[in-house]
Symmetry: C2
Subunit: 104 residues, 2 copies
Amino acid sequence: MTAPGGVVPAELARLRGSIDNIDAALVHILAERFKATQRVGVLKAEIGLPASDPGREAQQVARLRRLAQEADLDPVFAEKFLEFIVAEVIRHHEAIAQDHAQRV
Amino acid sequence: MTAPGGVVPAELARLRGSIDNIDAALVHILAERFKATQRVGVLKAEIGLPASDPGREAQQVARLRRLAQEADLDPVFAEKFLEFIVAEVIRHHEAIAQDHAQRV
């Protein structure tokens, strides 16, 4: 993005640098989160538990909404964000459970 | 979630503790990201730039896919994640631009 004159204002360039750093941090911390949930998926498959767990998810939503309010983040967005991540996790867990069932 | 006997296995409880810590980190770093993008929205409104910027977004997607591969995160998920965040940012920027237009 450039201003009408073709130049990116200095403050915009600075903010974009920070956003890029934050995004790198998000990618790396998300990678760690999926490592943990992949292991949860294997455990669940071994124990024979379903991929989805509404009770646990309700607790997570309530906690994240509270943390979001403290951090000045829209709690509605925080909830949507968790739903987005959990949908991916459940997709992984179902795949792990299928794979486990085929090998047993 | 509990095992058939009603007990959460120790490893599952430990993993859930890590996931909860990671989620707290994600909420706080997302709050910082939206602080930066809110400021970008104000700058864009002042300069008269559109809320969406396809060129910048294409660069962000390419970079995040590369970072995701390095971090062992699914690059397709990383791209969906960025789209999810950017949709929220654009919603904010449009609101800021409307607000700015009404006050000018």
